[in-house]
């Protein structure tokens, strides 16, 4: 283990920001080691003396050994910049994290991947599009990377898991402080079937500034970045900026020009920052994956009643009232048809009583 690695492990015990660690390293004048750190006199502005004393008290070999043992007990793996396990995609990026706390399958770092990001409050359109694209992409063995937030993030993770794909969640908090709380079980599932990572100490709570910070990891880890729906105010704008800086492919799904949640996606298409995506093939082409020409459309055996509903849905999303009025079915039969169609995955129910065909 190099001195630098040791030093990073040592520093990772403390809740220091990326910039702070950077400043410390600069002050060490090239010789980055724990020993040198303990001898160096730091400016009060960088580390106040009591914090410095505290850090020094934790610098012994035994202390660090215990610390690593403790992480191991929590099944957390610590990956530092000099590690072989450190994701190659991040290695040469500016401002790449010094270390990552990980839970799950580390092999995923080196797989082909696509970051999927967007608004926390998608419209029904955004839901459908995200589901559809993620489903197609994850089936081609491409790892889906996202941020475990509400909205597009969680839809991406969930859809990927549903289709047996691999997914990485990059947190804006420590690994033990899942935010939002509601996604605890989702995080657990990702941990078992994929990977969750964070550059913050495991007990750090999410704050305002941690989310834009983690967006650089999302942008960096993905071979491309897909934005399905986002507004100008959205944090997605940071992910996009980082992706531009890192020279990643950005994919954007166009939307209704009057719809707030499509402002950003439309804008980056217009300005040429992103390529316009209308189907999964547009993305897969860049990954050199040919979508089979013959669409593996499954022909479902539909009953006569079910066919009536499917026919009405053929030209897009419809609401319940429209369907009941036009399908010419008794309401009890209608409701029961909806359920059977949904169970077989032919239609999808959306909030507000909307129904849409899945394919």
């Amino acid at each position: 283990m190099t001195e630098f690695q040791k030093f990073l492990i040592f520093v990772s015990q403390f809740d220091l920001t990326y910039n702070k660690i950077n400043q410390i390293i600069e002050n060490l004048n090239g010789d980055v080691s724990i020993k040198r750190f303990c001898k160096t006199k730091f400016d009060e502005g960088i580390i106040s003396s009591d914090i410095f004393e505290f850090m020094k008290s934790k610098s012994s070999d035994i202390n660090i050994k215990n610390y690593l043992l403790n992480l191991e007990n929590q099944e957390i793996k610590l990956v530092t910049q000099d590690d072989d396990l450190y994701p190659k995609k991040l290695k040469n990026l500016p401002n790449n994290p010094f270390f990552l706390f990980c839970k799950g399958n580390l092999d995923l770092f080196n797989s082909q991947s696509l970051s999927v990001v967007g608004t926390r409050k998608p419209s029904n359109y955004g839901r459908i599009v995200t589901k559809k694209l993620v489903e197609a992409v994850s089936k081609k063995n491409i790892t889906i990377i996202s941020g475990l937030a509400y909205g597009i993030d969680s839809i991406a993770h969930k859809t990927c898991l549903e289709n047996g794909g691999k997914t990485i969640a990059v947190l804006g908090s420590g690994l033990n402080e899942i935010y939002p709380n509601e996604h605890m079980s989702l995080a657990k599932e990702i941990e078992n079937k994929g990977l969750i990572i964070s550059e913050y100490i495991p007990n750090k709570l999410a704050t305002r500034y941690t989310f834009p910070q983690r967006n650089r990891i999302i942008a960096g880890l993905g071979d491309g970045v897909l934005i399905t729906e986002a507004n100008f105010k959205s944090g997605t704008i940071h992910t996009k900026d980082f992706a531009l800086e890192y020279g990643k492919n950005i994919y954007s799904v166009p939307g209704n020009i009057y719809n707030e949640t499509s402002f950003l996606t439309n804008d980056i298409i217009k300005s040429g920052q992103a390529s316009c995506i209308t189907c999964a093939e547009d993305i897969l082409r860049d990954y050199n994956i040919e979508e089979e020409k013959v669409k593996n459309q499954i022909f479902f055996q539909l009953s006569l009643d079910e066919q009536k509903i499917v026919n009405l849905l053929e030209d897009g999303m419809k609401d319940l009232d429209f369907l009941t009025k036009n399908c010419d079915l008794n309401i009890n039969i209608f409701n029961s048809c909806l359920t059977t169609l949904e169970i077989r995955g032919i239609i999808c129910k959306l909030p507000g009583g909307y129904i849409v065909l899945n394919n």
Binding site: Y150, T324, N332, N335, L350
Partner: protein, 511 residues
């Protein structure tokens, strides 16, 4: 001189006998009431004295002591005035009053001697009849309450003088003529509201029909102005008619709460209660100094409509748990512990998010994802567990509003509901007031058996639609009701599939 007449006291919705004993002895003029009387009774002495004096009767200028037995039960209200007055007057040796011991007296006195109406006459009379009493003298204004009870003689009186004359045989008063309940109901048509006036919303209407048929609780989710309240208000019109026993129970509770409309004397319509969301916990459950029945008891055998469900105090909503399960509520207070019936159907409505527009066709929602999830999480698992049917309601478009399509009337829906209820009455013939929604685990096993096809469907539904485990029994109960509406003995996959479609809130698609 000693005399004793009978009256009644109220504990919960049941009455008990109270002896009003009067002792008039020589000494300085004095009037004392003993027997755990409350302030209203203590003040009776002024009313009784003035009433007797102003009725041109003789008030004894002696030492009067009145005991209300049993002496260890707290008594409330002004209904003993008449009994006290009669008791005092009958102490007079020259009094012509006879057979006063054959009657039970209820009534408050006014200074001029007239008899005022009192609360709770109906439950008191019903209890007294069960205790074996047959003759009653009650305020004239309360007579409509008494006319539905058979086999008793009720004499309505207007004032004290009339009472005395009647007791001494100088005049005759005709007892109230007995009325048949069903005839009164026929006379009174249900007013105004009808599902025929609600355009569109066919899914919601169907769900309400099922709720009515099986006694299921229901929650409606939709943006403001989507007609949730309108639908809820129409709901009682498709509920089966009250039976006489149910009507008596409802009337009893309303009589105790003093909310009875004295024109009809009995409540023949299912009550519809919609307390505002600022309602306190006690106003819903009942309680207070006199352990009055709350909104949930007033909604007994009817509908409790809670509009803007998540806006209610969390604590208030949680108190509904036990009554929703047991159909009654026990209110324990320092002075008394009383059990009131609370067998209501809960119809709740809520917006999908704080601003109300989430998922709406034409309006933008401005809430953050966190706000929405916080709003929805206000409804705790145990409460949602007790609500069988969840439906989404959206705005009706102008075309639908103006369309000439004929909507089904409440009357024809009600016929189907009654049919389904009859099937349930036969199924649960051993229990009274039993409906599908109240089935326990064993009964579900017995009456909700699925065939292989249905079993597969349910299994698939759980996997594909990610239903929570608690939905399982709820779905079976609702499916049973749907099968009953269909007149089918077995639950077919079609019934089951429809039942599954009413479990929207269990689904994970909300975020």
């Amino acid at each position: 001189m000693l005399s004793k007449v009978l009256s009644l006291g109220l504990k919960g919705i049941d009455g008990y006998k109270v002896d009003v004993e009067t002792d008039v002895s020589n000494g300085l003029p004095h009037f004392e009431v003993v027997g755990l009387a409350d302030t209203a009774i203590k003040e009776a002495k002024e009313r009784v004295r003035s009433a007797i004096k102003n009725s041109a009767l003789e008030y004894p200028t002696k030492r009067i002591t009145i005991n209300l037995a049993p002496a260890d039960v707290k008594k409330e209200g002004a209904l003993y005035d008449l009994a006290m007055a009669v008791s005092i007057l009958s102490c007079n040796k020259e009094s012509k009053i006879k057979n006063e011991k054959n009657f039970i007296f209820l009534g408050e006195l006014s200074f001029d001697g007239s008899v005022r109406k009192v609360k709770g006459v109906l439950p008191l009379l019903i209890s007294a009849r069960q205790l074996g009493y047959r003759n009653f003298i009650i305020p004239y204004d309360n007579q409509s309450e008494a006319r539905f009870i058979s086999d008793i003689n009720v004499y309505p009186v207007k004032n004290l003088i009339e009472t005395i004359k009647f007791l001494s045989g100088e005049i005759l008063i005709n007892p109230i003529t007995h009325c048949i309940f069903t005839e009164v109901v026929k006379e009174n048509k249900i007013d105004g509201l009808d599902f025929a006036n609600v355009k569109g919303q066919s899914v919601a209407k169907r769900a309400l029909e099922i709720a009515a048929a099986g006694g299921h609780n229901l929650i409606m989710i939709g943006p403001p102005g989507s007609g949730k309240s309108m639908l809820a208000k129409c709901f009682p019109t498709i509920l089966p008619d009250l039976t006489f026993e149910e009507a008596l129970e409802v009337t009893k509770i309303h009589s105790i709460a003093g909310e009875l409309d004295l024109k009809d004397g009995i409540i023949y319509k299912r009550p519809f209660r919609s307390p505002h969301h600022t309602a306190s916990t006690i106003s819903l459950t009942g309680g207070g100094l006199y352990s009055k029945p709350g909104e949930i008891s007033l909604a007994d055998n009817g509908v409790l409509f809670l509009d803007e469900f998540p806006e209610y105090d969390r604590h208030t909503i949680e108190t509904l748990r036990q009554p929703l399960e047991d159909g009654q509520i026990t209110i324990a207070r320092a002075n008394s512990t009383i059990t009131y019936p609370a067998n209501f159907t809960l119809i709740a409505s809520m917006n999908p998010c704080p601003c109300g527009n989430y998922g709406s066709k034409d309006r933008e929602c401005r809430c953050t994802a966190g706000q929405i999830s916080k709003y929805l999480s206000k409804l705790s698992g145990p409460i949602m567990d007790r609500i069988d049917i969840h439906i989404e309601v959206d705005n009706v478009t102008y075309e639908q509003l103006k369309s000439d399509d004929k909507e089904e009337s409440s009357k024809s829906i009600k016929e189907r509901v009654n049919k389904a209820r009859n099937i349930q009455n036969i199924r649960f013939s051993k229990d009274i007031n039993f409906c599908n929604a109240k089935m326990n685990v064993e009964q579900i096993k017995k009456y909700c058996q699925l065939d292989q096809q249905g079993d597969d469907l349910l299994k698939n539904a759980f996997e594909k639609l990610k239903l929570s485990a608690r939905a399982h029994d709820r779905i079976l109960r609702v499916a049973r009701t749907i099968a009953d509406l269909d007149g089918s003995e077995n639950i077919s996959p079609v019934h089951l599939a429809e039942a599954i479609s009413y479990r929207n809130l269990d689904r994970k698609y909300w975020n």
